[in-house]
């Protein structure tokens, strides 16, 4: 029971922090574009960061 809750909290934190994004993207590529090259985790997160801070992402 406790383990289940801990896992659930971990899952929510992964989603909130964006740690789950890479796995999701890989799954999407495998499902929809099996021929496309899957980026490495490092490539993926670097590209995400560049993109995020090119637009207003933080407010007053």
């Amino acid at each position: 029971m406790t383990m289940r809750y801990l896992r659930m909290i971990r899952r929510i934190l992964d989603l909130l922090s964006g740690e789950a994004d890479y796995a999701r993207y890989c799954a999407h590529l495998r499902g929809h574009h099996p021929k496309e090259k899957v980026p490495t985790a490092r490539e993926f997160f670097l590209a995400r960061m560049e993109q995020k801070y090119a637009r207003p992402s933080r407010c007053c």
Partner: protein, 694 residues
């Protein structure tokens, strides 16, 4: 009981609950507004705000969702239609609420209410609650909806397509100007919080190598492991907060980190330039993770602390300064209360976030209600907590911290005597004891709101967690927390400013638009940072403390952007054939037009030099002509005159742009309503949703 009876019983009990919530809200708001004795418990404010938020969310946002916008869960959202696993992803609504709230919550709702507390707790509290429920939340919700129906287009693009090219260009120009003033004023808040404070300066300086360490960890060792990296960073930052007191005790280190406002301003400008040129993974991104975690954690702790301590408010409901003569900012309750508190009630800047990443991640249309309207309610609640933190201080202490030296002078005894003569007793001894308790040399003339907020937070935290012994650590934790995410916004904002400029200048000469071409990167970064840096430096050299002139400019600019957003919203409602509901966005828009125009007019032409920029410029040049200025201050005075005229011109430009947008939109509305023009709504296509359930 049969099914029908059960159903009607449930309906009755629900109605009873909502009637009770409404009564509790109305009752405690009445208590807050009418209570006129010694002091009132902060819980009344919390209960009043919470009940009004609940009623507003349950009824008004539902009305907007169902009747006005007609959210349709059978219609696929862009996240579903364009799902690419990366930019467009159907996301759990609670996760998205977290992202969106973290993006909109900034220093605005903390600083604005702290400054507005000079009027007493009542005017600010009423505007925060009512402004949010009827204005700010509506704006965020409607723009989120509009962008969601247009594949996540930005506010500028929507303005251009739905209203016209004039509105589109004005929106873009407004965004760049508001960014400049915003960055200048929050940099000024940090400067004033850190000046002559070796402990605070050391802690904040340490966050730079800590962020870089995190960046290297995230880049090379454990790509994407944000949680563990943030925990590591948090532990190091806490060590820096605690360790700062030992640094401040060693004279060699202490003198290294004891800086005056000008030095700090120059360092922050240089830092902003470096951060805008450096790769994001090294400094900006890891610092953003760190500041987001600390921000959310501190907001949660503050709410918990207020609930545990249930402090009494020492500030009266209304002070004598509603007449406009206050030392923190000048000007009467109308319009300046509504300009000073921008972000906690209505913040135009949110419309940029609502038309950014969030609309691309919404799973079902109906969830836009919770994410758009709901996040802003949370933000408004943060503003209420900031108001409480400012009002738990003795009013005399509050005014001693927040009054600039230009008004109360630099001598502690004379300053406290003057503040006491206003009717808010305080002694130099009391201020010295308090400064000692929080580990600072002096708390006089620490304008900008951050120090008094930090004293308030330290007061609440030490009352609930750890006792008075930890007050100094809590104070510096609070300063670090505010400064950390302000610096994050400086980094991120300078970078966005650079991209906007590159985009704009690319029309003049193509290569300037290339974001990886170093000459262009350096040029546009220098332009973006130089622009806010100029206003920052103007602020630190202003004898009235800078906040007095820059914060209203920021408030006017932010509310102006809200006018842009709400007029775009009104245009869309009219085009959707919902003109009968257009008052939903039109009323808050008109209110903001009235407040920004009045405030702008007074900032330009008010005969009192503390309010009107031109009057102050005239007074100073009169002194100069009469030879009343000592020779060594002539150059400084000439610069002051120029700055006052510049501020007047910027204010005039803002006011003019409000009129352009309103008139341009009004022309469009008139043409559509008179059926002289066929409304063309540029929504993306209707596709049936395949996602069922939650």
């Amino acid at each position: 009981m049969d099914f029908d009876a059960k159903l009607s019983l449930r309906r009755v009990s629900r109605t009873v609950i909502w009637v009770l919530i409404s009564l509790a809200g109305a009752g405690s708001l009445g208590a807050v507004a009418l209570y006129r004795r010694e002091s009132i418990n902060a819980m009344w404010l919390i209960v009043a705000a919470a009940c009004i938020y609940l009623v507003g969310y349950r009824f008004y946002s539902r009305f907007i969702a169902v009747k006005v916008l007609a959210l349709d869960d059978r219609r696929a959202t862009p996240a579903e239609r364009l799902d690419d696993g990366r930019d467009f992803v159907p996301t759990n609504k609670w996760v998205l609420l977290g992202h969106h709230f973290a993006a909109i919550a900034g220093p605005g709702p903390l600083v604005g209410p702290t400054l507005a507390a000079q009027l007493g707790y009542l005017p600010g509290t009423l505007w925060i609650v009512i402004g949010a429920v009827l204005g700010g939340c509506v704006q965020d919700f409607v723009i989120l909806f509009a962008s969601m129906r247009r594949n996540g287009k930005s506010l500028g693009q929507i303005a251009k397509e739905e209203v016209g090219p004039v509105a589109g260009f004005t929106a873009l120009f407004t965004i760049i100007s508001i960014l400049t003033i915003l960055l200048a004023v929050i940099a000024l808040v940090v400067t004033n919080a850190l000046k002559a404070s070796p402990w605070g300066t050391f802690t904040l300086a340490m966050t730079i190598p800590i962020a870089m360490l995190m960046g290297i960890h995230l880049r090379f060792l454990r790509p994407g492991k944000v949680l563990e990296t943030s925990l590591l960073g948090f532990a190091l930052v806490m060590a820096a907060v605690v360790g700062g007191q030992y640094v401040a005790r060693v004279p060699t280190f202490a003198s290294l980190f004891t800086l005056d406002a000008r030095q700090l301003a120059l360092i922050i400008i240089a830092y902003g330039f470096a951060a805008s040129v450096l790769p994001v993974w090294l400094l900006l991104a890891p610092r953003d993770y760190l500041s987001t975690f600390i921000k959310l954690g501190t907001i949660f702790l503050l709410a918990l602390g207020i609930l545990i301590v249930r402090p009494m408010l020492a500030m009266p409901a209304m002070t004598r300064f509603i007449d406009g003569s206050g030392p923190v900012f000048s000007g009467k309750i109308f319009p300046f209360a509504f300009i000073t508190i921008a972000c906690g009630a209505v913040s135009g800047f949110h419309s940029l976030i609502s038309s950014g990443t969030t609309p691309k991640l919404i799973m079902k249309e109906s969830q836009a209600r919770m994410i758009g309207y709901g996040s802003m309610l949370l933000e408004s609640f943060v503003a209420i907590m900031a108001m409480i933190a400012a009002c738990v201080l003795q009013p005399g202490v509050y005014f001693a911290i927040n009054s600039p030296a230009g008004i109360v002078g630099t001598d502690p005894t004379a300053a406290t005597a003057m503040i006491s003569s206003w009717g808010y007793p305080v002694t130099a001894q009391q201020m010295e004891t308090l400064a000692g308790m929080i580990g600072e040399h002096s708390l006089f003339a620490r304008t900008g709101g951050a120090p008094s907020l930090a004293v308030g937070i330290a007061h609440i935290f030490s009352g609930s967690l750890g006792g008075k012994g930890l007050m100094a650590v809590w104070y510096h934790f609070a300063i670090m927390f505010e400064a950390l995410f302000i610096l994050t916004i400086l980094d991120a904002g300078s970078r966005v400013g650079r991209f906007l400029l590159q985009d704009l200048l690319g029309h003049v000469w193509k290569p300037l638009a290339r974001t990886s071409w170093y000459p262009s990167v350096i040029l546009t970064s220098a332009l973006a940072v130089g622009a806010w840096g100029y206003f920052l430096y103007q602020g630190v050299t202003d004898p009235l403390g800078g906040i007095n002139s820059l914060w209203p400019l920021f408030g006017i600019a932010n509310q102006l952007l809200a006018v842009v957003a709400l007029s775009v919203g009104t245009t869309i409602l009219i085009k959707m054939n919902k003109a009968r509901f257009a008052w939903v966005t039109l009323i808050p828009m008109l209110w903001l037009v009235v407040t920004t125009q009045t405030a702008a007019y007074q900032k330009m032409f008010h005969p009192d030099g503390r309010i009107g920029f031109l009057a102050e410029a005239g007074r100073l040049s009169g002194l100069l002509d009469a030879g009343a200025i000592p020779a060594n201050q002539v150059a400084a005075t000439e610069r002051l005159i120029f700055n006052n005229r510049l501020d007047a011109a910027v204010t005039g430009l803002f006011a003019f742009m409000v009129l352009v947008i309103v008139l341009d939109s009004g022309r469009e509305w008139y043409a559509i309503l008179k059926r002289r023009k066929v409304p063309v709504l540029r929504e993306s296509e209707y596709v049936l949703s395949a996602i069922t359930g939650e």
